[in-house]
Amino acid sequence: MNNLQQKAQQLLESGNYGLIVGYEKGTSGKARPVFIRKAEHASKLIFDESCDQNIAVYLYRQEIKHDKKKVIVANHHTLKSIVELAAENQVFDGDFMVLAFAENGDIIELNTFKEIEKHVATLYHGLTEAEAAMMKKIEDMSLEDRWAFWENEFSKCIKCYACRASCPMCYCPTCTVEINQPQWISVPSHTLGNLEWHVMRAMHLAGRCVTCGQCGKACPLELPIQLLTYKVALDSKQFFDSVAGTSICADNALAIYKPEDHENFIR
């Protein structure tokens, strides 16, 4: 048993905690979310490089939302999302404990939002090199090529909404795509409607996206849609110095303003 499994076992045996949300080994060496309720199942838990999925989405899941004896095993994506969800009042202080990891692999227990926020401050916020390279590749294209690139990508989207379902920040009980009076977003998955759907989603994530990439990882057709929300995230930082997932009390970038906000395109 490794230290995570031991820790989980202790927590469950103590009776103070009744549920551990973490990762287990899934099909073909993939990691997947798991829900452990019994101490004897603690040995299923894993935590390694394969565990890069953001699982913060489960914290507000109907079935366990009000369970105050839960623990979540959090990677850095999940941690940032917890901070952002806290800022948006979607999760509540004291409703769960977080098990995070120090660089040397030691388990860190985080019990309050303040502690989580402090720990998250020590993490890297920004795109990985590979992600930054993808952004640059697109930004360096001519306008026509960019359009062609996205037109091709959007044409593949089947509107399964796996991206939305796996994004912790897409928690609206009724999404704009579900509004049909008027019908803002087409239900059929044609390129125009798909473009509107992804522009809409990106706009609604401005200042809120923690750049975890989960939406892109979830897409069965492998659309790199995370780049759209990365774009609004990078712009929110550049224009408004707002980085989602860093502060438990920050206001959303598009919900506030400064009189001195500077643009160069309004006549």
């Binding site: 960019r146 037109e151 704009t176 390129t191 522009v199 706009m203 598009l254 303003y257 906000d261």
Partner: protein
């Protein structure tokens, strides 16, 4: 870039304006008998803060070649801060459109107060010229046709 037919082409333009400043300003343009381009369909909103980006997307989806958005100058908003909020949204939105390869020159943003009848005429005329230069929004029209399940090309 579309350059053909720029002379005969008359762009379809939608203007989203706020009730308190630009709409009143446009009224003044009329009562002052200043002549300006007639391509524009004006849609009046209570405030620029109410002009959701989806409305702009819908204008393009319904065949607009260009869009003008206009409201009160900063600090003049009838509701104090609607235009400040709108400005932030446009900053993000405009860059996002650029990122997906839309020509952001198809959207013109301006502050036109109730007293600036002449500025409104100028904004409209220059925007229409700019849109005429850009030509029809063919890239978008292709998507519209495709969304209607018409054969494309």
């Amino acid at each position: 870039m579309e350059t053909n037919n720029t002379n005969s082409f008359e762009p379809k333009v939608v203007a989203f304006v706020c009730n308190w400043c630009t709409y009143a300003g446009a009224d003044l343009t009329g009562t002052s008998r200043i002549k300006y381009a007639t391509n524009v369909k004006i849609i009046r909103f209570p405030c620029t803060g109410r002009i959701d980006f989806m409305l702009l997307m819908k204008a393009f989806a319904n065949g607009a070649d260009g869009i003008i958005i206009s409201g009160c100058h900063p600090n003049d908003c009838h509701y104090t801060s609607g235009n400040f909020h709108a400005r932030r949204r446009w900053m993000i939105f405009r860059n996002l459109l650029d990122f997906i390869g839309m020509d952001v020159n198809r959207i013109v943003f301006s502050w036109v107060s109730a007293a600036e009848g002449a500025k409104w005429a100028e904004v409209v005329n220059e925007s229409v010229d700019q849109f005429r230069q850009l030509g029809p929004a063919t890239a978008y029209q292709k998507l519209i046709k495709n969304s209607e399940f018409q054969e494309v090309e």
